[in-house]
């Protein structure tokens, strides 16, 4: 059952998305700066993979077109980040820095929902659409038709990955209550996201642990791609979901504590 709180949160997110979409259609220069450039970034970033494939038949057991499935998954996540997550974080951090968060806190809704829907840049989703198309094309070239079970598993892991992405965003937001000029932390995350282009199997040692549990890029891109290729088992799905849920709980606790220490503009 959907609780009243959840449905009102979804309502707020929907309304905010509609407003942003209208604004985006108004200012069409964003089509080039947010949309086309992010697609370009998404595609140019493949270059290191291509260079690696020029010298090796595969990378960590992934063939060329399998890596394109992964690249497509990456572009979907990257587009969601730059269109939905990053703008909201930047806007909310600005509110925190200036003390105008007060206006959000006064509204009769969960402040976290208001922060995470503070601003969207819909043109960034262009990268997600191109990424989705790339996934379909690559699967067709490979001749892989995912079964319903595989699709379901990939979808579950994908949602878990997006939840983890949001959890990391909320953590960044909580930190920004203390260090006020940290809006560039979202840029840092954008840089780190480039790790997610590569199969998680490339990493060894501490980096592998970090990218599986702490900053679970493996959950965001590698595992959905594995799911589509029919290589993901139930244990992998369960671990991915558990990782994301733990991150989400930690983030929520950090947010509540940070909000308590917020002293607003006037005090």
């Amino acid at each position: 059952m959907l609780s009243a709180g959840t449905s009102s949160s979804l309502g707020i997110a929907g309304a905010q998305l509609r407003l942003s979409a209208l604004a985006a259609l108004e200012y069409r220069v964003g089509f080039w700066s947010d949309g086309v450039v992010s697609v370009l970034w998404g595609l140019i970033g493949v270059a290191p993979l291509l260079v690696a494939l020029d010298h090796r038949p595969d990378v960590a057991g992934w063939s060329a077109w399998e890596l394109m499935v992964l690249t497509g998954c990456f572009m979907v996540v990257s587009g969601i980040y730059s269109a939905l997550v990053q703008p909201a974080l930047v806007k909310s951090m600005e509110h925190i820095r200036r003390g105008t968060l007060d206006f959000l806190l006064l509204r009769p809704a969960d402040p976290l929902v208001l922060c995470l829907t503070a601003e969207f840049m819909p043109w960034g989703l262009l990268e997600s659409f191109v990424g989705g198309a790339l996934v379909v094309v690559s699967l067709v070239v490979l001749g892989v038709a995912p079964s319903v079970g595989d699709l379901g598993g990939a979808l579950v892991v994908f949602v878990a990955g997006i939840v983890a992405l949001y959890a990391l965003g909320i953590l960044a937001l909580a930190v920004s209550f203390r260090a006020l000029r940290l809006h560039n932390i979202t840029t840092l995350f954008e840089t780190l996201l480039d790790f997610a282009r590569w199969p998680a199997g490339v990493f060894t040692g501490p980096l592998k642990a970090i990218f599986t549990f702490l900053i679970p890029f493996a959950v965001m891109t590698t595992q959905p791609a594995q799911g589509l290729l029919g290589r993901l088992d139930a244990g992998g799905i369960a671990t991915a979901v558990a990782t994301s849920l733990v991150l989400l709980i930690v983030a929520r606790v950090a947010w509540v504590r940070a909000l308590r220490s917020y002293t607003s503009a006037s005090s």
């Binding site: 220069v29 080039w32 700066s33 450039v37 370009l40 970034w41 140019i44 970033g45 270059a47 290191p48 291509l50 260079v51 690696a52 020029d54 010298h55 090796r56 990378v59 960590a60 260090a179 000029r181 940290l182 560039n184 932390i185 840029t187 840092l188 840089t191 780190l192 480039d194 790790f195 590569w198 490339v202 990493f203 060894t204 980096l207």
Partner: protein
């Protein structure tokens, strides 16, 4: 006013700007630390390439140790040639903040040069420990053993810094006509990542693309100083590439001056 007095006054102004930049960098050190971390991309590339080399043997002339040395050097060169004038300039032109700088008795671009340079020491303080940890973990770095070539490294670094600053300034000046000039710089950065040796050592690029990349300003920004430092270049090659780099420096400075001069006239036409 005598010429000597003018010079002394100028030096005093530059010194003051330098202190201002240093103070800003120190005040927002957490922010600067995050900026340093955003340029850790070479260390990411290091983890990947070293991993691939470890699993299946060397790629081209690069084994695991060579990849580590290459990307740590790339990380440090990137720190030493960093500037961010394109974003400052774009914002200042768009919001009209530039008018305040124009009123001051210092050329606004000189102001930016000094504040960008002043952050370098702190940048290095933040970046060096990271580089040292990676190097110690990987077992050291072999730099060029040719003293004459090592002597050219500072020249290559200065050239890289000026080139980066002038290109950013030139693109930033486009904001006089076009509000989102930073977008153009993002496209530039896309090409930089691939062609400069930032994500892939240039000599590994396929299809003769490495020859093209070596002639480009991208490689002059990063790949050339790195390869010079690591001793990958013969003395003759080093001198050729140094001349090429400084050729790009001259072109980029000329472009920046041209864009600034034209742009300022357009800016004045707003009635600012």
């Amino acid at each position: 006013m005598s010429g000597g007095g003018g010079l002394r006054r100028r030096l005093a102004v530059l010194g003051a700007l330098g202190r201002l930049g240093l103070a800003e960098a120190a005040a927002y050190r957490a922010s600067l630390a995050v900026w340093v971390l955003t340029t850790t991309f070479p260390l990411i590339a290091l983890a990947l390439w070293a991993g691939i080399a470890r699993a299946g043997g060397p790629i081209g002339a690069y084994g695991e140790a060579e990849f580590v040395a290459y990307f740590v050097a790339a990380f440090l060169v990137r720190q030493l040639t960093a500037s961010w004038v394109v974003w400052d300039l774009e914002r200042q032109i768009r919001l009209g903040e530039l008018s305040v700088l124009l009123l001051r008795p210092v050329h606004p671009l000189v102001h930016h040069v000094m504040t960008n340079l002043a952050a370098l020491p702190l940048r290095l303080v933040l970046a060096l420990p990271l580089a040292i940890v990676v190097l110690v973990a990987a077992g050291g770095i072999g730099v060029s053993t040719e003293p004459a070539l090592l002597a050219l490294v500072p020249l290559a670094l200065v050239g890289g810094w000026i080139l980066n600053f002038a290109i950013q300034a030139a693109i930033g000046c486009l904001a006089f006509w076009w509000q989102r000039s930073a977008t153009l710089f993002e496209i530039w950065t896309c090409l930089f990542v691939v062609l400069s040796g930032y994500a892939v050592p240039t000599s590994l690029l396929p299809l003769g693309l490495d020859e093209v990349a070596r002639l480009s300003p991208f490689h002059a920004l990063l790949g050339f100083p790195v390869e010079l430092l690591l001793g990958h270049l013969s003395p003759a090659e080093a001198l050729d590439f140094l001349a090429l780099q400084w050729g790009w420096v001259i072109v980029s400075v000329a472009l920046a001056r041209f864009a600034w001069g034209r742009g300022l006239r357009a800016y004045g036409a707003y009635g600012a």
